[in-house]
Amino acid sequence: MRAYQQQAEIVRSEKLSDDIYRFTVNMADIAAGSKPGQFVMVRVAEGLDPLLRRPFSIHQVAKGGLVQILFKVVGRGTRALAGMQPGQQLDMLGPLGRGFAHDRPGQHYLVGGGIGIAPLLFLAKRMLKTVEPSAIRVLLGAATGTELDVLGEDFASLGIDVQLATEDGSLGEEGLVTELMASLPPGEGTVYACGPYPMLRVVAGISRKKGWECQVSLETMMACGLAACLGCAVLRRDMNGYVHACKDGPVFNADEVAWL
């Protein structure tokens, strides 16, 4: 798989809530080559501090070589990134990693928690090239409604059934996205999930009980994104050695990895 390092112009910056931003950048090579679930490594500062690139899922690609990332401000790097303005150049590396395998029969359940929603819009759009909207269901969860409203509408505008859950009950059902999942009907299906680790562990457990294949996108610390530093280790299911999130993932079959 070919990766590119590019200076990409930020063509649009949207502030979706207090701390969630969506950037649209122009980077044709990355846009052309990327698959849902893959990610980019972004340089958030010009100087040497913060030093490392930050990984972000590809949120969407659009005609004209445009790529979007959706991110939440959680620390120094994402804060610096949020301060960047349209017209500025962003140093991007990608597309990286192994994405979702979505050529599966039956129902498709896209399950996102918090900022883990990011890669699912791209996935839904790609799926719609081969399956009917009725074959896809999207379940999204977050702490509060402002983190979900815009994104929920993006999915709904594709004609896909969307169910929302918020911990404070301000939008959709009150509770966790995993609770929505538990009430899904039985039958042939595949789960595609992204979110915090504790959520993914529950999603993997429910999927196992329902007999569904479950693909999860895992987050780890990463220095290179290129399979060179070996920093992104994830314990294998058999507890005997590690797989690497930037190369073998970030999307794994839930059965490949140990759930601790």
Binding site: L48, M221, A233
Partner: protein, 308 residues
């Protein structure tokens, strides 16, 4: 009239390179990982991830943490082991003209010796770089590189079983680098490379525990450059072996500092993560610097700051 290009070739003892810029072990995978981002044919040499006799799983995560202008790593020397390296990684590297230097590590002197003997039979391997920053399992886990006798023993074992150049990579986690440098010179090394990572740690104040599962890790990146530079200077003063400078090199200027301090070549490590194009930019930048100052050959830079 065409302007003469400066001569970028360097010789590290018996090892001849087209330019002085190499990739530091553990920061460039087995070369292939950077194949679509870097013109591998342009590099001075490719140094691959440290290889042990048997595969190693490495440490539990988290294995890395960012620090001010640097990073900590406790990868735990994860690698595919010698057999898979020979079967799966060397074929790609054989297609690249750039000299291949294999970094080796072991738990005992015997391990190093066997690695040297096995790799001696591999024509593509231009030189070995011996990582002596690992614990000697038979001697209470004390790192080979922190004890002059053990450093001597490892160097000699490799020297006696490998017919091409042997580079010994020194650990900065010692009180006096010159003692180790002399022991290694005395044991027959062809060159020294320094520095490996500097032992450090970081604590997560929310979780109130160390950020690395291994507690301690090796610090690398721009933050360690002054330490590397000082140690290269000291080593250059105490031995007559050629020295390869490592530690925080991110720009051509950083590389030139190391050359001026006494290094005849340099390695780029952590910078590959931040800017995959770093090695090529550094090669071009050194060339420009030489042209701008009317210096004919990069070799003339070596140790120039020492003579002033």
């Amino acid at each position: 009239m065409a302007i003469e290009q400066p001569d970028m070739r360097v010789s590290i003892g018996p090892l001849h390179l087209q330019n002085p810029v190499m990739t530091a072990s553990g920061t460039f995978g087995y070369g292939e990982e950077y194949g679509s981002l870097v013109n591998l044919h342009r590099l001075g040499a490719i140094i691959v991830k440290g290889i042990s006799l048997r595969p190693r799983q490495g440490n539990p995560p988290p294995r890395i943490a960012e620090t001010a202008a640097g990073m900590l790593n406790a990868i735990g020397l994860e690698n595919v082991g010698l057999e898979r390296f020979l079967a799966e990684k060397i074929p790609f590297l054989e297609g690249i003209e750039t000299p291949l230097i294999v970094n080796i590590l072991g738990d005992s002197v015997d391990d190093y010796q066997e690695l040297a003997a096995r790799l001696d039979g591999e024509e593509k391997v231009a030189a070995l770089e011996v990582n002596i920053s690992c614990p000697n399992v038979r001697h209470g886990g004390v790192a080979f590189g922190t004890d002059p006798e053990m450093a001597h023993a490892v160097t000699k074992a490799v020297r006696d079983h490998f017919s091409r150049p042997v580079i010994v990579k020194l650990s900065p986690n010692v009180t006096d680098i010159t003692v180790i440098a002399r022991a290694v010179e005395e044991a027959g090394a062809d060159a020294l490379s320094l520095i490996n990572t500097v032992l450090g740690m970081a604590i997560d104040i929310e979780a109130e525990k160390p950020k690395l599962a291994n507690v301690f890790g090796g610090l690398s990146g721009p933050a360690i450059k002054p330490i590397g530079l000082r140690m290269v200077w000291q080593a250059a003063e105490s031995v007559s072996l050629p020295i390869i400078g490592i530690g925080g090199i991110t720009t051509p200027e950083d590389a030139i500092e190391y050359l001026l301090a006494g290094a005849c070549a340099i390695q780029v490590g952590t910078a590959n993560f931040i800017n995959p194009g770093a090695t090529e930019e550094i090669i071009r930048g050194i060339g420009k610097h030489l042209t701008a100052r009317g210096i004919d050959s990069v070799q003339e830079l070596t140790g120039r700051a020492r003579r002033r």
